[in-house]
Symmetry: C2
Subunit: 389 residues, 2 copies
Amino acid sequence: MFKIFQTKNKSRRGQLVTAHGTIETPCFMPIATKGAVKTLSSKDMEALGAQILLSNTYHLMLRPGMEAMAKLGGLHAFMNWNHPILTDSGGYQVFSLSRLNKISEDGVVFQSHLDGSRMHLTPELSMQMQKAIGSDIRMQFDDVAAGDSSYERYEDAMERSLRWAKRCKEHFVGSCDDALSPGQRTIAVVPSDKVSSQLFGIVQGGTHEDLRQRSAEGLVEIGFDGYAIGGLSVGELKEDCYRFTEFTTRFLPQDKPRYFMGGGMPEEIVYYVSVGVDMFDCVIPTRNARHGTLFVWNQDPLTIDFAQAAHDVFAPTFYTTKRLTNEAFQFDSGPVDSRCSCELCAHYGAAYLRHLFATQELLAYRLATIHNLTFYLTLMRSLRSWLVA
Amino acid sequence: MFKIFQTKNKSRRGQLVTAHGTIETPCFMPIATKGAVKTLSSKDMEALGAQILLSNTYHLMLRPGMEAMAKLGGLHAFMNWNHPILTDSGGYQVFSLSRLNKISEDGVVFQSHLDGSRMHLTPELSMQMQKAIGSDIRMQFDDVAAGDSSYERYEDAMERSLRWAKRCKEHFVGSCDDALSPGQRTIAVVPSDKVSSQLFGIVQGGTHEDLRQRSAEGLVEIGFDGYAIGGLSVGELKEDCYRFTEFTTRFLPQDKPRYFMGGGMPEEIVYYVSVGVDMFDCVIPTRNARHGTLFVWNQDPLTIDFAQAAHDVFAPTFYTTKRLTNEAFQFDSGPVDSRCSCELCAHYGAAYLRHLFATQELLAYRLATIHNLTFYLTLMRSLRSWLVA
């Protein structure tokens, strides 16, 4: 169930109810690719105030595998995270990571990027795997056209994704009739599958207005619990990414959550919120952290005029980034961000973090990740405050 | 200042007062080689209840370097650890890690293992560097003979170490007259150098009783705040290691702390405590953790008869080890150690940790390190309880 209780122009402030708790939107979903946000535990994620995590079906399918997932009672129990989880369909990784053998109407045949073993994935299998994982929000399986595809390939992929969306919906509805056995859930008790899970459709169509519109309208006709904007933030011009996101939202129902997949930088999220997007996931805060790039506020985040920030999307002023691997920080005993109270900024100086990066101490990656996730989660909290102010 | 307030046969229960707090002995010192216990922060170490950390002068000399150490106000401020720190002299790493060019009466000339740059280290320089680090307990610079040296080499190294011990003592006493400037200590305020630091001598002599005795007696004649047993746990027979540790303690004063350098497995520590050793450091808990080997109690640690355990040192029964990389744990949702309440055992199952190791998630190394350090620190607490019971 999704409820919007505040709008400001097109920006929306809402609540998404799941069996593992209510998510305040707009929200950011840290990425627990293989069942862990890199360097952090689920207890760390609770301490950071994350509301929901995203995990990748493709990676979990390879390791620990779906047999382990089912035997161990699903991902919530496995990683001891008793809050919402969203899973992707596996499609994106099949198209981007594995050696793809064949796309057919049935699904895709591919080789594992780990050991080359031959596997296949269909809309139905994706639904079954996401059910074994026990995620609260599940994504339809889609045909993902590469970022530089021809109009014909985009159209073909979009049409096939619509047909696969229908098969996902049918299989998802069917699978809800048999609740998961709670007997295996030895760590955390979660409600039955029947109550909890939701299915989101994914709008495709590349950078073509007609394809985007047909995709969105087709999905709405099938009917989903939420709608994702897919196939953007994949190398196209930033202008196009902004324009097509705004364009796509025109064809999505007001009363369902909208999820922009895989983006982005802080100013991009601010822009997407300004055109009515509710949910985000991105590797930027965690990946940048591990590479030593940290986000730093230029002002108290509660004082940001987000309408102005969305307007200034090409020249953001509310934050900057620092490269903590830089020699300039060698003697800097001050905090990386004096406006931040995360474990890093509250207790350690920039020089110490630089030293940890220089000596490749694993603590560097952890402290930097905690900082950048704190930044992103604080950004979302500030956006939500601004929306009700 | 060291005070023994309980003995049980030769075992000693004491308190070592430093400017950064009182250490209850027998104690274990986790190793913060380069200013961080691998994977953990100083706040984590506080949460684990570590009383004192050991850090390596050689590594800190290379990075961040002594200029940074001095400018940033010493290691306590740098890593935000407001509790005792012990530093080694740099000698052991010079002899084991670097390309050694020349030992002379003055000191050693060597090449950095990082960039091959030519450096030298003398007793006086070691004292100066440990002063820049600002450690509470400092070790004399010694000539470390390799584990398979001839009697002549052991004798020569032992005699030189005695002469260097005298130079360290003289330089240490001298340096205490000028207190460190507290102006640079921007994070933690620590008392002046004059009050805090202590100097330990190191008994050498390999596996030769006469050399060990001459070394210990020579050091006691010079007079130190504590005495370390060096040059053992370096590949010799376990029997020899136990025998020469016991033998060495006979020549050490009762009213000064004794520190066994670089050992060992839990049962070895129990044995050394039984012959009157007070302080320990070892990479085993942290290194084994990162390789997936975890210590598991076979009984409530507070019920261990440590006199019996010291007797059974060749066949310990109070604990076992588990290889968490083993496939056997694939479906094991139970905790690694049901008697442990560390972050790992309280919240995650063995199958999850195995998955984190299999997927090389950095969280694996952190959770395993927290567990093994909890094991070692609990062992020391249990030993101390047993000593006053």
